[in-house]
Symmetry: C3
Subunit: 669 residues, 3 copies
């Protein structure tokens, strides 16, 4: 039986990727001592070590790794041991070229970078299984090993493969899904453009096409590749579970990563972890905050680990700005506040060679213990030691935003009325409201149990699979408030139109029909008027016919002037709001201000702009995080009559608290 994360790691995890094979052996001991000093309690080892572990096929060299793990353990540092499968060695693709992923033009990827394997290669899966079995048997009882780190950033560079073996696998996948050609032809709408298939082996990739692809086929190809990579993950997981049933496993997820349906993946993981690299030029990283909330939601509130961040600057952007003093620490506390029980870095020691040598690390090239970078790491590592009590504490959100990877895939397929729509931007647009108001938000998928929430927002939920509208109807019927934005409820799981007037499955719930779409040109705007107040909208206008709903804002310009832009509909004990355009931030802020008031949902504290307030709770205590993202200090009024304890300095606090710029307070009460 797999152990609880809290049992394995009863502290906030702190550390990073550790690649000792890039350094001479004498550095290893120096590393372990520095780690101790910096408060490191967990490192990820062997992520890219396949070629130094399995030197040739079946010839394993574990001596160096034994030594590394022993040194770490003797210094009290735990290990998230990687399965070393992230990038295959040169001998493998030399010996078995079929393991190589293939580009759309038929040319295989090559060794010389990383992740050049095809997830569909049986030979690759076999090689992976061999390696993981050896790793697991070797280290199953090593006391340093706390967690298994499977592979690394699955699909990061390669989420598509056009090899012959992938094509065969795609056809098999389709056969498993559709069973008969007739069914596939119907589900793909192949009578359009004479695309009818007689046999599975007539089917090709949605690639190398003269013009638009079949959207149903393209969507299935995305599903297929997601599942192919997931199968590869599960191949590893099964070996590990078999040999080390008690050790939790994870792989590290990524930011704004479209190809993998992380809601599905999370079901097969013991711990959600992810890699976060906000661009310092963005200032307050609210998009990363959203991803923290999303990652926490993947396993329904179970804390996640931030598996990678950078101390200073990355090296893969055009221009790589560096974090200012204090920012790394502040943003790390935002991670913890939003459900992070681990704060890890890529990487421990900055590399001397290779493609990432200018990527920041916990120990920079200078190896100078007085460097700003190392000093900030050390401060944070030692501070986090005071937060053991926080481990596994939870978030209590009354608001949920619907997030659906398949919808993301479908709504951004080509051939839409407006082909510059971004699903993420629509989600950010609504998330931002709650972020700025310091209202906790969970993410849910369309079939999630919504009974814990008072307010659910579904931005641009283009795809409604057959029957999914029922879940939303039930939520509203029982008293919930639902907000749906434009271009929702249009297509089914095959990306076929729900006929009968847009948005057919939601018409009853929303009390309206969308007669027409009127996308706006890039430079075009319109105005909507709500309660006599005008505000600017852009991107899209729905031509709405009310069928029970009431208009709460109308368009002011163009041929559809005076027609409804935003509507509200009483349904059962609740109400549903429809936003048939892309409103300004001010309008959205205002709209939700009203909704939240009515639902009596409010922030833990009232604070100035750019102060982030978040609560985590366990059975005993509430942790109140107050993060000052301003460049000036702030003074925050606290709830009268409560005596708080500041976790970072153990002082008692009442009435108000003064927080320096780029600083944080964590209060318990």
């Amino acid at each position: 039986m797999v152990k609880q994360i809290k049992e394995v790691m009863p502290h906030i995890a702190f550390g990073g990727d550790y690649n000792p094979e890039q350094w001479d052996e004498q550095v290893w001991l120096e590393d372990a001592k520095l780690m101790q000093e910096a408060g490191v309690n967990l490192v990820s080892v062997a992520i890219f070590s396949w070629s130094v572990i399995e030197r040739k096929e079946g010839q394993f060299d574990f001596a160096w790794l034994d030594k590394v793990l022993d040194i770490l353990h003797s210094h009290g540092i735990g290990v998230a041991l990687a399965t070393a499968t992230a990038s295959p060695p040169a001998w493998l693709s030399k010996e078995y070229p079929e393991v190589l992923a293939v580009q759309e033009n038929g040319v295989p990827f090559q060794v010389g970078s990383r992740q050049h394997y095809s997830p569909n290669s049986k030979r690759f899966r076999y090689a992976v299984k061999q390696l993981v079995t050896e790793m697991a048997n070797r280290y199953k009882d090593h006391p340093a090993v706390k967690l298994w780190h499977i592979n690394n950033e699955y699909g990061c560079h390669l989420a598509e493969c056009y090899s012959e073996e992938s094509l065969q696998a795609f056809r098999t996948w389709l056969k498993d899904r559709y069973h008969t050609m007739d069914n596939l032809n119907k589900k793909w709408g192949t009578n359009f453009w004479s695309q009818r298939y007689n046999a599975w082996d007539e089917i090709q990739f949605p690639a190398n096409l003269p013009t638009f692809y079949n959207p149903s086929q393209k969507l299935d190809y995305k599903r297929f590749m997601d599942e192919a990579i997931f199968e590869l993950y599960k191949t590893e997981k099964e070996v590990l579970r078999d040999i080390t049933p008690e050790i939790p496993v994870f792989t590290n997820f990524m930011y704004e990563f479209k190809p993998l349906n992380y809601f599905e993946w999370a079901k097969d993981m013991d711990l959600v972890t992810w890699d976060s690299y906000p661009d310092p030029r963005e200032g307050k990283p609210y998009r990363h905050a959203m991803h923290h909330d999303l990652m926490r939601s993947l396993k329904h509130g179970q804390p996640f680990y931030l598996m990678e961040q950078v101390t200073s600057h990355v090296n893969w952007r055009d221009i790589n700005l560096t974090k200012k003093p204090g920012e790394m620490r502040l943003w790390s506390y935002s991670t913890v506040a939003r459900g992070g029980d681990g704060v890890m870095y890529f990487q421990w020691r900055q590399g001397r060679a290779g493609a990432e040598k200018f990527h920041g690390a916990m120990v920079p090239h200078s190896n100078n213990p007085k460097s700003r970078t190392y000093q900030e790491v050390k401060q944070l590592g030692n501070e986090l030691k005071q937060l053991d009590g926080l481990v596994d504490a939870r978030t209590n959100a009354k608001v949920a935003i619907v997030f659906d990877w398949e919808n993301w895939w479908a709504v951004e397929l080509e051939g839409k009325p407006h082909n510059k729509l971004s699903y993420l931007n629509q989600v950010y647009q609504y998330y931002r409201v709650f972020y700025e108001k310091n209202i906790a938000v969970d993410f849910v998928d369309p079939t999630s149990d919504l009974s814990d929430y008072q307010l659910v927002v579904a931005p641009m939920l283009y795809m409604i699979r057959d029957g999914e509208e029922k879940n939303l109807e039930q939520f509203v019927d029982q008293g919930g408030t639902l907000v749906v934005s434009f271009f929702s409820g249009i297509a089914d799981q095959q990306d076929h139109i729900h006929l009968g007037g847009y948005p057919a499955p939601l018409r009853k719930l929303l009390g309206l029909t969308v007669e027409e779409f009127a996308p706006m040109a890039d430079e075009e705007t319109n105005t909507i008027v709500a309660n006599g107040e005008p505000s600017t909208v852009d991107t899209w206008a729905d031509i709405i016919r009310l069928e029970g709903a009431k208009s709460i804002a109308t368009f002011k310009e163009n041929w559809y002037q005076d027609s409804p832009a935003v509507t509200i509909h009483q349904y059962g004990k609740g109400s549903s709001i429809y936003i048939g355009t892309n409103p300004s931030e001010a309008y959205v802020d205002n709209l939700f201000e009203g909704i939240l008031q009515q639902l009596s949902i409010s922030a833990p504290l009232s604070v100035p702009t750019n102060v982030e307030v978040v609560e985590r709770k366990n059975s005993n205590e509430t942790y109140l995080f107050i993060l000052n993202h301003n460049t000036d200090p702030v003074t925050i009024s606290l709830d009268k009559g409560v005596t708080y304890t500041n976790c970072l300095n153990k002082q008692k606090v009442t009435d108000e608290i003064h927080i320096g710029h780029t600083d944080v307070a964590i209060l318990t009460y």
Copy 2:
């Protein structure tokens, strides 16, 4: 003997593409009834039906199509029956991969979209012939069949193919054209860059080259591909003519379509049809008006059909704006005014699946008979019934613009003095003048009989094939007025320079030599002065030496200041004007104002801005179209003493007429 179009379709054709195979059979009868209601008298059927007609090689299923045609016929709806060859079925390319077109990188296109065939594939031509033969034999006597619609938008996505079979065909084509290697070497100028060939099989595509191609070779490749696709068309046409000698045939042309020399194609067609998709954001679609005039000119004034337009919005632009109320109707009347005897749509019923499901249609997804879209269709369809008398009426133009596809190909090849020149934009620049002045314009090729015209404009006629200057000389000599713009008369049919001073073949006619070209940078302008009036020019300056011509405008700036920019030359009984720069619209308007006055060419009526006035005449009557593109109503003064009849309401009109915004009047007298 093939029938006249007027005999086959004595009404303005109204209808659209009809794809019943995408719908259940019970929808077909509903469709036919709705069509009747909407005034539909012609639909195109089976365009993309190959895979549902020929289910496997040689196994034909016509049952469904029989039923469709019967239903249509029983409702009085004619059929433009497609040959179903627009996109081949999956089994064909599976069985015979050589039918696939090949990309420049050697990778074949694949099934999954449309039009993935190579026009040079003998196997594909054979398959096409088999199918068309079956279709023609099956339906040769079906009373619904009025016209044959061959293939669809030839070359739309694939006007180049790099297959081995195409390479062999290219070599054969070259051998037929040049006979000997010595001749080819001379005509391609292969002594440049050591490109001499000893044998036909040494010749490659102008592709996969380290730097600039040989322009003569590239030009020939364009000719070859145009002719290859034309051969494919003729393969179908011959079968049809053989089996159904009385039924007229056509294929549908496209907008701004460079790869096919439509002047040549039209010679082999009984009816010119084309597909027009103006972007609603452009407002008044004068570029589409030009294409109407061009399409009418392809068969020397014979009316064309608009084969496809959209009721509302397409789905293949980045952002697909929708037509405002009335615009579709107004633009349809512009089509009719300019020689369109058919107004058709893609498509009848909006698709539920596939790449074009968000493309507007006559019956939208909602299937709501009260939808704006369907209502506008129905209004127009019923109005057009009143215009039977207009069918086959002609346009009487005194102005012609030279348009030459081979010139288009040649002048936009790389390696020019100015490589951002657009042939179309130069043509639009001069067409616009006449469009805005409501002066009828025909298009001609350089060898056309010009004797019916008073004024001929030849914008940027870079290529003058040997002897073609004679036609222009004769026109001017006999009293015509010719206007030629810069970068004309430079190269011959091989894209070799006419030596002896630019523009060698036109120097005598124009009375000048162009000593040098002085292209201008993007941000650069100059000023020309004509009769003391300055105006701005850009893009290009010719350094002109007068040799008989007189300067009528001079440059004011730069090192060539005071040298001629625009000249006039008396030649025989006429005169030729040369424009050695890219003038402002104001200058061009002014210049032609004078020319038209002198030639006594004027508009049918004097009207406010943005009112389009066009005449069509038959032996009995003149039809005067007045289209108000303004957003306000206008009142138009009519010729005194004439009593007009308004075709759309049968009322008599004298002295003046009031026309609402986005409305039209069609007066006969």
Copy 3:
């Protein structure tokens, strides 16, 4: 023993590429006469003549070339005879497809353009050797032949090849360089990302990779391709040296050409020549002036030939502006002033066909002897006859700029802190100062003897190979002044970091450590303050810790405000200045103003803006070039008491000289 250039060509060489094979024989005599009239004394013949010389394998036709050379010789025109290898004939790649270079996608380049060969093809090298042997034997004693022009613009279009034969050659090259796999693995840092190799044949190109390449591997690939092309050059050179030991050889270099390490190439050439095509829109071509100085420096001051320029305009830019009257002459004199003993054009007669027919030439399409183009050529050709005394005169520079091709390659590899840095722009930034102040500058590589210079500037010298810092230390120690700009001294020859604090090898010399890099976003700036004067900086800030150096300018903004931006350090008898940011032109001007004053380095004359002053000296005389790039005339004060002679009109000049716009004076004294 090879002859001195001065012995072979005792005049300023004047002429151009001559391609008689593109013209009928009767034109050749006309050409020779016109050349005589224009002062032409040297033409390059046969550059692209392979296909007309070797008609089939081993079948040579020299008759036409014999005739051409005889005609030229009889008119007193010398020939730089090309080896005709610039582009192989079609029969060669037909017969031996392995000679074709291959693209990254595996598709071979094809005949139809030029330079489609792989430099690694043994079969191609064999064919080249055969041809050059024939050429050399045929013309070794022809009196017209003054020089051998080997190939043409090596690597211009193809500096990379991905053929199987190139891959084998790359592996062999690596084996020769690294000897053992262990060594290669260490030098490439292959323990990063699991890239360890067991065998040479596991190594692939740095191509077709899912993400970032291994920078050490990429750098070696660049070295390998440079050397492969160099080997091809040497193949030809050896044949020629063997058969015609007295005739000097060259190949023509290019502008801003990164792939070839011209410092290395020049060692194997008797004469440096290059092709210069400044864009007329740039106005005063200071970047081309820099390249003249660089080309002169390649052989340590030995004069170069400008092998190609254009009379008027090229045809390969988007928009090809033409040189204004006088500019071609003025810029040609700038060439001569900076060490050019030859002024040549591409090409003699403007082509009628082919990809370059709109490229200007000495004789334009009109063939008009009164054309501006030809008149300007003729004037210049006849003027240059008066400058025989100048031949082989030298430049005396006290300032040197370090220029290093391998550094260029390395610093622009991906994955840097700032990935928009341009090495050339950093060099231009410092060159510009001296150009505008009319201070002579040589270019040196990091290992050059620096003892002749007082001031050395090393812009962005990212790569310091092991031990190279010694040369700079010695220069400063002995009294020199060194200026180094940011991101210098970071990596070694493998592109591995010099550990121990940036810039490790230069810390002692510069007296500082760079703690961190703080790249700036595109729109970001900072201010530095020096002596109380603020000026704007952008792109980059170093966080500097002083270790002996003194700050002479500090940052004013951002979190590193008040930290040093520019420093000076006394070292031995000299001093070293470090610029840790990208300063404004004004700051750099000011900084160097002070340095030059202190070192008593000054211009030959004090002149107004945009007047270029350059000196060349031989044992007897000093030639003082004064070029007026202004659009107005200028009057220049000369040194009192000196009597100058104006070479172009033989007049004596004292006290001052008046020079018209776009005009030049060449004074001797």
